[in-house]
């Protein structure tokens, strides 16, 4: 047998790796090979002696150090695992009542300021956009009224008189144009509509005075009656004198005469 193979076999025998049958084979081999038997006896003596080298028991310090290390590692691991959860928890714990209320208050103030700053610049243009067309419409309407009242067509002048009633505020030019129509327009319907339009501005003393004076200037019974009704409605006492002047006219219509007398009586 090769020396190396014997050495390996011997180590298997010494280490207890062989079963009973294999051990018998090895022992029988040694009986038949004295040189290897001698070598085995020398080596086995040292092998067995090694077992006699006493190894002390490890101290409790080793156990304490190990478990201390292990617990530290476990705590580190748990800290890592809980890291995100604790982060959230600490965030929410910071949101206790006083802080939360203060935070909400700040948020509300911020939103309020934001709303005011945002809405004001927007509203102003809207108003200007709306008011601009309105003022422009008024101007256009005024020009339209003045133009229509000067037209030769009765229908156009009628339309002009109607448009004048739609104006919010009549300026001096419009009022003057309406009185010109009332006192001079050949068409009765146009003059009647002019009365309706002027009735809208009776709060102005000049309009009231103009209407009173116009009573004596009218030759149409319908216009006279319309003015008389308006004076009664306005309870304009200054109009009595004008109506009396009209009554004194010789060609006055009887219906008008009765109406004027009734109106004078109502106003008084």
């Amino acid at each position: 047998m090769e020396q190396e193979k014997f050495e390996m076999w011997m180590m298997e025998y010494l280490s207890g790796a062989l079963d009973e049958s294999q051990r018998n084979d090895f022992e029988n081999y040694l009986q038949e090979h004295p040189q290897h038997k001698e070598e085995f006896e020398e080596m086995s003596g040292t092998w067995i002696e090694i077992d006699k080298i006493q190894v002390p028991e490890p101290s409790e310090r080793m156990d304490a150090a190990f478990f201390n290390m292990l617990h530290t590692e476990i705590e580190k691991k748990e800290d890592k695992k809980l890291g995100w959860y604790q982060g959230l928890q600490s965030f929410f714990s910071a949101m206790q009542m006083p802080q939360l209320a203060f935070g909400v208050l700040l948020l509300a103030i911020g939103l309020g300021i934001g709303y005011v700053l945002k809405t004001n610049p927007v509203q102003a243009p809207i108003e200007s956009v709306v008011s601009t067309p309105n003022s422009e419409t008024e101007e256009v309407r005024e020009q339209l009224v003045l133009t229509l009242l000067e037209q030769t067509s009765a229908n156009k002048r009628l339309q002009g008189a109607n448009e004048a009633a739609k104006l919010k505020d009549a300026n001096e030019l419009i009022i003057k144009a309406l009185f010109t129509t009332l006192n001079n327009d050949p068409n009765i319907n146009v003059r009647l509509v002019a009365i309706e339009s002027l009735a809208k501005y009776v709060e102005t003393p000049e309009v009231r005075m103009g209407l009173v004076k116009s009573i004596a200037l009218q030759d149409s019974p319908l216009v006279q009656i319309a003015l008389a009704d308006l004076m009664v409605t306005l309870q304009e006492k200054t109009s009595i004198e004008s109506m009396k002047q009209l009554l004194e006219q010789p060609d006055i219509d009887n219906t008008v005469k009765q109406k004027l007398e009734e109106s004078i009586n109502h106003i008084i």
Binding site: E7, E12, M43, E49, P58, M62, K77
Partner: protein, 184 residues
């Protein structure tokens, strides 16, 4: 069977159940301590090195696949720990050689048979410490209870046959050193 359980425990440690390392420690602390003690003859140092082994097992738990023997993996780690310590403290190791043996003799209270026996074991111990580390470790590993040559081969990174041959040569050298010391 226990080896299977060792593997299962270490796989649990690997998966994050670090408590299981405590069980592995209780099972293997004496063998590991014995390995280091026979390697360096210093009980206090051996305790520190056992601690280092378990710290490394935690640090490198991801390298444990569970396919091989747990003991082989553990002692491979122990071997690396021992080499690292030896490399870092080479000078101090040599200077303390005598004192560590003395420390060991103080520990071994059970050596009380005859003066001759005591002398023989003392000489054998000195001879063991004089063995080169690579020979000493194969011999110490092969003397560990339950350690098979196939596991030693896995620890040393060689074939089973080579492990047996290395163990035989280490034993032969130990005997040579012992005889030399004995005749002085």
């Amino acid at each position: 069977m226990q080896e299977l359980t060792n593997n299962a425990l270490m796989l649990k440690v690997k998966s994050g159940d670090l408590d299981k390392l405590g069980l592995l420690y209780e099972r293997h602390k004496k063998r590991l301590f014995g390995f280091f003690y026979n390697m360096n003859g210093n009980a206090s140092l051996s305790e520190d090195l056992v601690q280092n082994v378990f710290e490394r097992m935690l640090k490198y738990k991801h390298t444990f696949t569970g396919e091989g023997s747990f003991s082989a993996w553990m002692f491979r780690t122990a071997r690396n720990v021992n080499y690292d310590y030896y490399r870092k403290n080479k000078m101090a190791f040599k200077q303390n050689e005598v004192s560590t043996i003395a420390y060991k003799l103080e520990d071994t209270d059970s050596i009380e048979n005859t003066m001759q026996q005591r002398d023989d074991i003392s000489i054998l111990n000195r001879a063991l410490q004089k063995l080169p580390p690579e020979k000493k470790e194969v011999l110490v590993l092969s003397k560990l209870k339950g350690m098979k040559f196939i596991e030693i081969a896995a620890i040393l990174g060689c074939s089973e046959g080579a492990a047996k041959v290395k163990a035989h040569r280490a034993l032969k050298d130990l005997r040579m050193i012992f005889l030399q010391l004995e005749t002085r």
